[in-house]
């Protein structure tokens, strides 16, 4: 089998997978296998004879219509209303590490607002030497930096605490995106306002707040604020999208997405945490005895196989199979990923597409020769702190079953002989 598979180019493999996914089936593939000339080659095709779209047709392009299923999706029963809700990145259908803005998940508490740059104001107040107001144009005049980070919602995989619930990587792990941000360091802005009024900085906080009706606000320790937090206005080279906080959002590397305040309008230096709704009643983690952890900001190391997975089944039969996925850590850089095909009995090292970058998504591949047997596919992250991604059983042992947030457990896909996959939980 492997001999005949050698001449199948990656693009052909992608075509077959695409055909299967859209329900066209493997007709073209089987015709070729039987030695019948492929009409796609032997017959002149329209696209090879007539002209295509001109340059004026699409001043700002969307993906070609054949990719119309690579979209964000919502799980309606999760929330009372789509305006205060979340959707999911189609990670099962993406590759590489950068998430296109147009399909990067959204989470709003009072809907995404339309705020013009001209109407944008950013205030710094509280324990600063001089409270300041910046316009958008002011922000563009500070020294700028470009950095790539993942943003993961603390609730990502949260629906899976009780068992295997949602059947697709998009739904189990899609509250994540990874973008290259351009902006100003928060440190620069705080220094512009002056921090001597704050005195000893080691116990001070920065409270950040958005301009939308939810007025989402979070308290961030001064150490973090001065370390790597960014005030960003571009993502992946272009303006932030409305749904991601246009014109300005906060970037809090490695920490839960709720802190990355969108439509950022105010930064207040305080002597204490404000303990707002999103840092007390939400985004806290209740343990088995009813006690709850608070200030659980950092997102621990985690990984998931994005393909094959329930929404991305194996459509090509036995032979060469690319197992791929995403891996990340909020505490540092990824150093390795293990993959298990037998539900965690044995593990092998996967290949990182590029060396891990701090607090950014890393892509991994395991190039394998699939013999068509069932797999219980898992992946396990290692980061540069020496941390290894735990199983769900290990997490439950420490936290009990009442947690919602910060579920970074190892995920299992049951890949069947026909190539379909299902979200399952396995014995420990």
């Amino acid at each position: 089998m492997s001999d005949t598979q050698k001449d199948i180019s990656p693009s052909r493999r992608a075509f077959l997978r695409g055909a299967a996914a859209t329900g066209v089936g493997l007709a073209a593939g089987s015709a070729a296998a039987q030695g019948t000339p492929d009409p796609l080659i032997t017959e002149k095709q329209d696209w090879a004879m007539t002209t295509g779209a001109g340059v004026d047709e699409t001043p700002y392009g969307l993906p070609i219509k054949y990719e119309g299923d690579v979209i964000r999706r919502n799980v309606p029963w999760l929330t009372a209303d789509p305006i205060s809700s979340i959707n999911f990145t189609p990670i099962h259908a993406l590759d590489g590490t950068i998430t296109p803005q147009g399909c990067a998940f959204e989470r709003h508490h009072s809907g995404a607002i339309e705020l013009k740059k001209e109407d944008y104001r950013l205030m710094i107040n509280g324990l600063v030497d001089q409270p300041l107001v910046f316009t958008y144009a002011d922000l563009e005049r500070f020294p700028r930096e470009n950095r790539t980070f993942f943003l993961e919602c603390a609730a990502n995989t949260g629906m899976e605490w009780a068992g295997a619930q949602l059947n697709g990587a998009q739904f189990t792990h899609g509250m994540i995106h990874n973008m290259e941000y351009s902006g100003v360091s928060l440190r620069t802005l705080l220094e512009e306002a002056g921090l001597s009024a704050a005195g000893d900085l080691s116990d001070k906080w920065v409270y950040v707040e958005g301009a939308d009706a939810s007025s989402n606000g979070r308290s961030i320790p001064m150490e973090k604020a001065l370390d790597d937090v960014m005030v960003a206005f571009k993502a992946n080279g272009e303006a932030l999208r409305m749904e991601h906080g246009y014109p300005v959002r906060l970037v809090v590397p490695g920490w839960e997405g709720n802190m990355w305040v969108k439509w950022l309008r105010r930064i207040e230096v305080t002597a204490q945490a404000v303990e707002g709704r999103e840092e007390t009643s939400k985004y806290t983690d209740t343990l088995a005895d009813g006690t709850s952890r608070k200030w659980t900001w950092v997102m621990d190391a985690k990984s998931v196989v994005t393909s094959p997975s329930p929404q991305s089944p194996i459509a090509h039969g036995t032979g060469p199979l690319v197992i791929t996925g995403l891996v990340w850590s909020g505490r540092g850089a990824i150093t390795g990923v293990d993959v298990s095909k037998d539900g965690g009995k044995t593990w092998e090292k996967a290949r990182l597409a590029k060396p891990g970058e701090k607090m950014a998504l890393t892509r991994f591949y395991l190039d394998t020769d699939w013999d068509g047997s069932e797999m219980l596919l898992q992946s396990r992250a290692h980061d540069d702190t020496g941390y290894v991604q735990p199983t769900k059983a290990q997490l439950r042992e420490v936290r009990g079953e009442n947690s919602v947030y910060h579920n970074n457990c190892i995920q299992t896909w049951h890949v069947k002989a026909n190539g379909e996959a299902e979200n399952v939980e396995v014995s420990s």
């Binding site: 329900g23 119309g68 009706a213 939810s214 290894v388």
Partner: protein, 357 residues
């Protein structure tokens, strides 16, 4: 090293991070924030009461204000409607299988309630409640949780005297000691990690069909994947929709503008195919319909009375209502304050015509 940051950085790196020149030179950008501006935005309230405005409100007043502004989502007794947050109950459930987390059972600080209600509520009409009314709402939520009596009056004076039941229920993130020491390279297994592996739970079983759902669900998956293609096709629908409306005076451009304004209404009202009653009734066919025409929606008595009297949502009546709902129906459950611009009102009415059958 500060007391709350678990090994975020090494001590040296931390010292370097916190070393700020006493007077940073700066870039001279931005302008001083004026006192009035800071007052307008600096609304957050801390657990120690910092930021609380002077004022007060009673449980008695709170009951009425809550009923008018909050009950539509949170229930008359703060018990929650549908999937909207429950604000009362759940006492002693935090260690149970499905803990009920409410202001009474979970929230550690009362300041959080006042802060959140004042800045972020009511949903879709935030920052419209007066400081005294926020005190009253806060008092009523406390009363709903049996934390205060029915004659209680909450004010900035006695605010910190209220004891929240779960005030001591929180610990600072202890993962560094409870987890990072266990989930390590040393403990990672590579070979013969377990004797056998069994599937213990399946996503498809938790789904609607418990038996043989595995294969059904998997087989159905490509269909589900294909669905969005239909959505893409449906993009042309809005162009078609207005042609259904037989109305001489109908202005499609104005209706399109109205659809944008209608986003403000979508928090509570659905329109179009498959619309259902949410916080507010479905608005399909509302134009020229009798007031309170949707079966199964619990309208206010005011509206039911108008229904009996034969009132109709014609252009004038809709315009009047959309400008200031409570001036037309004082008891309406609609918390929305009204549209300020006549142009927006006209546009929304035009849009509502387009969703009328």
């Amino acid at each position: 090293m500060s007391k709350f940051l678990p090994k975020l950085m090494t001590a040296t790196a931390l010292a370097a991070t916190l070393a700020i020149p006493a007077f940073a030179e700066g870039f001279g950008l931005g302008r001083p924030a004026l006192p009035e501006e800071i007052t307008a935005w600096n609304l957050d309230i801390s657990p120690n009461g910092d930021g609380l405005p002077v004022g007060s409100g009673s449980v008695e007043d709170g009951e009425m204000i809550f009923s008018e502004n909050c009950a539509v989502c949170h229930g008359e007794f703060a018990e929650g409607v549908d999937n909207w947050p429950k604000l009362a109950g759940g006492d002693g459930t935090l260690a149970d299988k499905d803990p009920l987390k409410t202001v009474g059972s979970y929230w550690p600080y009362l300041s959080t309630v006042y802060d959140y209600v004042r800045r972020s509520m009511p949903f879709g009409n935030a920052q419209t409640v007066s400081d005294d009314d926020v005190y009253a709402i806060t008092a009523y939520i406390l009363y709903s949780n049996y934390i205060v009596e029915d004659d209680f009056v909450l004010s900035n004076e006695n605010f910190l005297d209220v004891e929240m039941p779960n005030a001591d229920g929180f610990i600072v993130d202890d993962r560094p000691s409870s987890e990072y020491t266990i989930f390590t390279e040393e403990n990672a297994c590579y070979e013969n990690c377990k004797d056998n592996v069994e599937i213990t739970k399946r996503a498809t079983v938790l789904d609607v069909t418990p038996d043989e759902a595995g294969t059904d669900q998997a087989a159905a998956e490509p269909v589900a994947e294909a669905a969005p293609v239909e959505v893409a096709v449906a993009e042309e629908a809005p162009v078609e929709a207005p042609t259904d409306v037989v109305s001489a005076a109908f202005d499609a451009d104005l209706a399109a503008k109205g659809e944008t304004v209608f986003k403000k209404c979508k928090a509570c009202h659905q329109t179009g195919e498959g619309a259902t009653n949410k916080t507010g009734p479905v608005l399909n066919g509302v134009f020229m319909a009798k007031v309170a025409h949707v079966d199964g929606f619990k309208y206010s008595n005011d509206m039911l009375g108008a229904h009996e009297a034969g009132a109709v949502w014609d252009e004038a009546h809709l315009a009047e209502f959309l400008a200031k709902p409570k001036s037309v129906y004082a008891k309406t459950k609609m918390t929305f304050a009204g549209l300020k611009k006549d142009s927006e009102i006209a546009a929304v009415i035009e849009y509502l015509k387009s969703v009328s059958q």
